[in-house]
């Protein structure tokens, strides 16, 4: 690996939402800044830059991760997924997103992308997730608007729907 220089930008090659991208970043640049300000995907939000609020949560190699605690250089060769990729068709909402709309799981929507990216992992890995699993999973996120209840309802509804779709005959 070539030696990196703090004062210079270095290329970062990675997969972003299914496409290969090459970006340039100084060593100290955060992944959140790279995504938002270099690449222009502003769906990932920044609420604290110290790992507490969860607004910046993206998926790195299928796991939820705080983009504000990740250096851009750390995702070299990795697979990053952001809220922009959650629904396949931009004109349609994914079942999880649709459940959030139905259940009023958002108000200002600032915390929402991070929460969606987290829940997306949970529902993939734990299709049987119940209320307590969802609450525990959500405890890594702060929402200042909703009081959380509708977020939990939305997640439960999405989980339920997913289970029905997987076993259509049961």
């Amino acid at each position: 690996m070539p030696r990196m220089n703090a004062a210079r930008k270095h290329p970062v090659d990675f997969t972003l939402n299914g496409r290969t991208v090459r970006a340039e970043a100084e060593n100290r640049m955060l992944l959140s800044d790279l995504l938002r300000h270099e690449i222009g995907l502003t769906g990932t939000h920044v609420g604290c830059e110290h790992g507490v609020c969860g607004a910046c949560t993206v998926q790195i190699d299928g796991r939820p991760a705080r983009a504000c605690l990740t250096l851009a250089q750390q995702v070299r060769g990795g697979d990053v997924r952001t809220v922009e990729a959650l629904s396949r068709d931009p004109a349609e909402l994914s079942p999880l997103q649709a459940a959030f709309r139905r259940h009023h799981g958002l108000q200002c929507g600032f915390c929402t992308p991070g929460i969606l990216m987290s829940l997306d992992v949970l529902l993939r890995e734990r299709p049987d997730a119940g209320r307590e699993d969802i609450r525990e999973h959500l405890s890594g996120h702060l929402c200042r608007c909703t009081g959380y209840a509708t977020i939990v309802e939305a997640a439960l509804a999405a989980a339920e729907e997913q289970r029905k779709e997987e076993k259509p005959n049961v």
Binding site: C48, V52, L93, Q107, F110
Partner: protein
């Protein structure tokens, strides 16, 4: 006000929000997402590490020389281009958005850097050298009034910036005649509903026209636009203020972005570039804005059966270091409803406003309500306790009776509508208060700590823009001219294809205004909701607005949605006239249904909405004589009920008054002192409900914030003014795990004063819930002096008394607070090295060795034989900063002992300490013993004591370990190294 009758059935339905598709797919457009000009530069702000200090010099040379830096400005540079911000009381003080010769709170801006990007701008902040002369700070509002208290503003000569006394009815007589006098004293803490999105500003300056163009996530009120224009020395039409389409929440807080609008505007002017500033979380928590803390003494005159006949309020309001517009509004917003939900005829009030070395205060959800209701509802409970009455009976007995509405309060408020007793009774029945009482009895029988609390409040909404002038004397008001009203504005426009656009100046912060307005206007015009599109961005240069515009005081549903309905109805009346001619009927027979205008008696006789609507564009000549165009209608609406304060200081401070009755059951863990909310019931009368889903969303959101305020959140300060809760790891916002689900009930009595009968609803639980929980805790513990937040340690104190120091001394002396309120650390240690005493001694005096062993040192200069200067960079948790250290050697006994004393100062804080080093000869070399005492203050203190104490020990330890290593021995103790690793891991950030 005549109520509008509605037809289409859209209003009152929980429809899906039009906002959500974009927000859920990452297509929101918040301030930091907006495209900017390619030449936009970035602003970073150097902030004061001291609560109170004089600035003797600022050296910006090195910062200016850094490549990528475009401009560096100090307070003097800003002052040359601006004027002091307007202060809302008559007092000899100035109020600047940046410090000039003195800093008065931690986080106060001291210098501005504009650079090519934010990273470089922050690098440059580290290079600015500020010489401070620290002054004694005052944090406590009562101490700030003492004769020997440090005075923040010498021109004022005192910290008491305003005092007024009020008298309504005959309180003295009522107190003299009272069977009982019951009083309570409350110290309400500071907190903030802090949103997840921080402040942001994008500013441009056009020198050709001497005009500013600023986009900021400002929430209003737009009376502040006048403050900004004046401060920037331009007429209002040269201060264009725009808001982004989306906002990441505000809860009042984003009113406080306005000083940064001024700073960014000046920065853009000086650097001749557009300038963008996004606040970071540390800045936001430390220095954005806070609710007021208040010390209240409240006394009631009470009859034998628990009727309150008079109240006497003494309120001491702490507005922080500057009285920033619109303060002291927090103290006066509730002036018309100081008697709460009760019919109390006689009231005395003394209001004092004091300045302390804390962040200036401003809007915060509930605005003044939490402070007054905490006192009033605690007092009502205390009356119950002292008179051996059930507090619920005291509440019920004093409520304003249903036949008294609209009810004029003693202080001049006009409670619009309600049936408080019926609402209360329904809440106790549907909320199963009986069952809760049985549960309490059962829990107590088992020896558990269980309590029930109540709170009854009126929730004011739609502020009278004149209420704040109640702070002036009647004579001052007469001179200044009356202020009153609450202009709401809405525009309905129809384009040439007949589709409808609504434009308002409500500046939503996530509440879904666009959805509700589409509902309202679509219903008025008989259209499907998706035929109406709503724009809520505000541009002061192009849109209709007034000083009351914005998103505060819960004014949307009662005022703005009402104005939109009125605008739609004006267009509707004209459309009916136009259609009547086409349908050959009289206008009153024209009905609007499913996109058509039709003869109500013969529905087949119909014409499409689009066709009628388009006539004004395509064929204005065909409009019936005397019928105006239907292209665009703007309605400004202000209610007659909002008049200026009377000569006797009576003020109807708000148009609408919702009613809330809450009760809850809490259980306290005897071992830990943890308060658990077992059950919470909240009954709301917010008038007519326009969208039940959103109303419940507002209630739940406010409730969650109130739970935070009751149990976890406090803006804590050290005695020296250092801010101790600067991260979200220290300022604890409830997560889903800490947020119980309340039972929400409704009782609808429409307001007779608003077009749609709606009242505000967003703030009520921030007023009712903290005191309801406190009352329950008081009931569980039998403690009267309940202070928020109800943290386990505080509750444990009430349970077990104050924690006693351990009988055996600990290895490390626990953290103490120094004389000036700094955190004190002491420690000691030793290391064995192979070098001789003489060579260790020489190392201590050699700048090169010092550079190698001082953690994070870039440079060590020898000023004299006994004086060194070092530049160091240290990271503690997320707070990484550059510091200058001065180290002096004294009491030197070569080569045995030396005292090192030093001070360090940087953007993030300051420290000073002394260490005594003793060198002893051993068989293998030298033993180095050290003992130190250090004090730390400033911003580093805000990253959290727990972290700081450990980190400081590690840093000091590192120094001596490095010395030992340098001298050939003494492997570093692994515990310390492990701690560093853990810290780095925890924060995962290695810039």
């Amino acid at each position: 006000m005549t109520r509008l009758e509605t037809t289409g059935g859209l209003i009152g339905r929980t429809v899906e929000r039009v906002e959500d598709a974009g927000l859920l797919t990452g297509r929101g457009r918040y301030i930091d997402d907006l495209p900017v000009r390619r030449d936009t530069a970035h602003l970073a702000i150097l902030r004061s590490p001291h609560g109170h200090a004089g600035i003797s010099a600022i050296n910006t040379h090195a910062a200016r020389a850094l490549p990528g830096v475009i401009a560096v400005m100090t307070g003097a540079d800003v002052a040359r281009l601006t004027r002091s911000m307007t202060v809302g009381v008559k007092a000899n003080v100035e109020c600047w958005p940046i410090a000039r010769d003195r800093v008065r709170y931690v986080g106060e801006p001291v210098a501005l850097v504009v650079a090519e990007n934010r990273y470089v701008a922050e690098d440059a902040l580290d290079l600015i050298e500020v010489d401070y002369e620290t002054l004694a700070a005052v944090i406590d509002p009562e101490k700030a009034l003492a004769a020997d208290a440090p005075v923040l503003h010498p021109s004022l000569g005192t910290n008491l910036i305003n005092e007024r006394a009020f008298r309504y009815g005959d309180p003295e007589k009522a107190f003299a005649a009272a069977a009982h006098r019951v009083s309570i004293r409350i110290a309400y803490p500071r907190n903030s509903c802090t949103p997840i999105e921080t402040y942001g500003v994008i500013a441009e300056y056009d020198p050709g026209e001497d005009a500013y163009d600023v986009t900021a996530n400002f929430q209003g009120p737009f009376s502040i636009h006048a403050v900004i224009s004046r401060a920037l020395n331009v007429p209002g039409n040269r201060m264009r203020l725009r808001t982004p389409p989306d906002s990441g929440g505000s809860f009042g807080i984003k009113q406080g972005v306005f000083p940064y609008v001024i700073l960014a505007a000046v920065a853009a002017r000086v650097s001749a570039r557009p300038v963008k500033w996004i606040e970071d979380r540390l800045e936001h928590l430390t220095a954005s804005v806070s609710a007021t803390n208040r010390v209240t003494t409240l006394e009631a005159a009470v009859t034998a059966d628990g009727r309150i006949t008079a109240l006497s309020w003494d309120q001491l309001e702490d507005c922080g270091a500057h009285l920033r517009a619109p303060e002291p509004a927090t103290l006066y917003r509730m002036h018309g409803n100081m008697t709460g939900a009760y019919a109390i005829e006689n009231v005395a009030i003394r209001n004092r406003v004091v300045l302390t070395n804390k962040t200036p205060t401003g809007l915060n959800r509930g605005f003044g309500g939490p402070q007054i209701y905490f006192a009033l509802e605690r007092l009502v409970h205390k009356i119950g306790d002292e008179l051996l009455l059930d507090p619920l009976d005291v509440i019920r007995r004093n409520l304003v009776p249903a036949d008294a509405f609209p009810y004029r309060t003693a202080t001049g408020g006009l409670l619009d509508s309600g049936d408080y007793r019926a609402a209360l009774d329904r809440a106790t029945t549907e909320g199963r208060l009986d069952a809760l009482r049985r549960q309490r009895d059962a829990a107590r029988a088992q020896g558990r700590l269980y309590g029930i609390g109540y709170a009854a409040v009126v929730e004011p909404s739609v502020s009278n823009m004149g209420y704040i002038t109640t702070v002036l004397t009647p004579e001052e008001r007469a001179k200044a001219g009356p202020k009153n009203g609450a202009q709401a504005v809405a525009t309905v426009a129809i384009d040439p294809l007949g589709s409808v656009t609504v434009k308002v100046a409500s500046v939503p912060q996530g509440q879904g205004h666009r959805t509700v307005l589409a509902q309202v206007v679509a219903e008025r015009l008989g259209l499907a909701m998706d035929k109406v599109r709503v724009n809520t961005e505000l541009d002061t240069e192009r849109d209709a607005w007034s000083i009351a515009s914005g998103n505060y005081a819960s004014r949307f549903a009662p005022a703005v949605a009402g104005a939109a309905a009125l605008a739609a109805d004006r267009i509707r009346a004209r459309l009916a006239t136009i259609a009547a001619r086409q349908l050959n009927v009289t206008p009153d027979r024209v009905d609007f249904r499913a996109g058509t205008l039709l003869d109500r008696d013969n529905p087949d006789n119909a014409v499409s909405f689009g066709r009628v609507a388009a006539a004004s564009h395509w064929a204005p000549g065909t409009l019936p004589e005397g019928t105006d165009q239907t292209i665009r209608e703007t309605v400004f609406w202000t209610p007659d009920e909002l008049q200026a304060p009377t000569a006797a200081d009576g003020i109807n401070s708000s148009l609408c008054h919702g009613f809330i009755f809450d009760f809850c059951g809490v259980e306290i863990d005897r071992k830990t002192g943890q308060v658990r909310i077992d059950r919470y019931v909240t009954m709301h009368d917010c008038g007519r409900i326009l969208h039940p889903g959103m109303v419940d969303g507002q209630v739940r959101g406010g409730f969650a914030q109130a739970v935070g305020a009751a149990l976890y959140e406090e803006y804590a300060y050290g005695g020296d003014g250092s801010f101790l809760t600067g991260t979200l790891a220290d300022y604890l916002i409830p997560t889903v795990m800490e947020t119980p689900e309340p039972l929400i009930l409704h009782y609808e009595t429409p307001s007779p004063f608003t077009p749609l009968g709606a009242k505000g609803v967003g703030e009520g639980n921030c007023m009712s819930t903290p005191v309801c929980i406190a009352n329950a805790v008081a009931d569980a513990l039998g403690v009267e002096d309940i202070r928020l937040p109800l943290s386990p340690s505080r509750v444990s104190e009430w349970l077990y008394g104050e924690e006693r120091p351990p009988s055996k001394p600990l290895d490390q002396t626990p953290v103490a607070t120094g004389a000036s309120g700094e955190r004190m650390l002491t420690g000691s240690g030793s290391a064995e090295v192979t070098a001789t005493r003489e060579s260790v001694w020489a190392m201590l005096l050699d700048p090169n060795t010092l550079k190698a062993i001082i953690p994070g040192a870039h440079e060590v200069r020898k000023v004299s034989d006994t004086h060194f200067r070092a530049e160091v960079t240290l990271g503690i948790g997320p707070v990484k900063g550059r510091y200058r250290a001065d180290i002096r050697l004294s009491d030197m006994v070569e080569p045995e002992t030396v005292t090192l004393s030093g001070g360090t100062e940087g953007a993030l804080g300051s420290g000073r300490g002394t260490g005594r080093v003793t060198l002893t000869e051993t068989t293998t070399g030298t033993r180095i013993d050290y003992r130190y005492e250090a004090a730390i203050g400033g911003k580093v203190a805000s990253v959290g004591g727990r972290l700081l104490d450990g980190a400081a020990r590690v840093v000091i330890g590192q120094f001596f370990q490095a010395l030992a290593r340098h001298a050939g021995g003494g492997a570093p103790p692994s515990a310390a190294a492990g701690f560093i690793q853990r810290l780095l891991h925890l924060f995962g950030r290695h810039r």
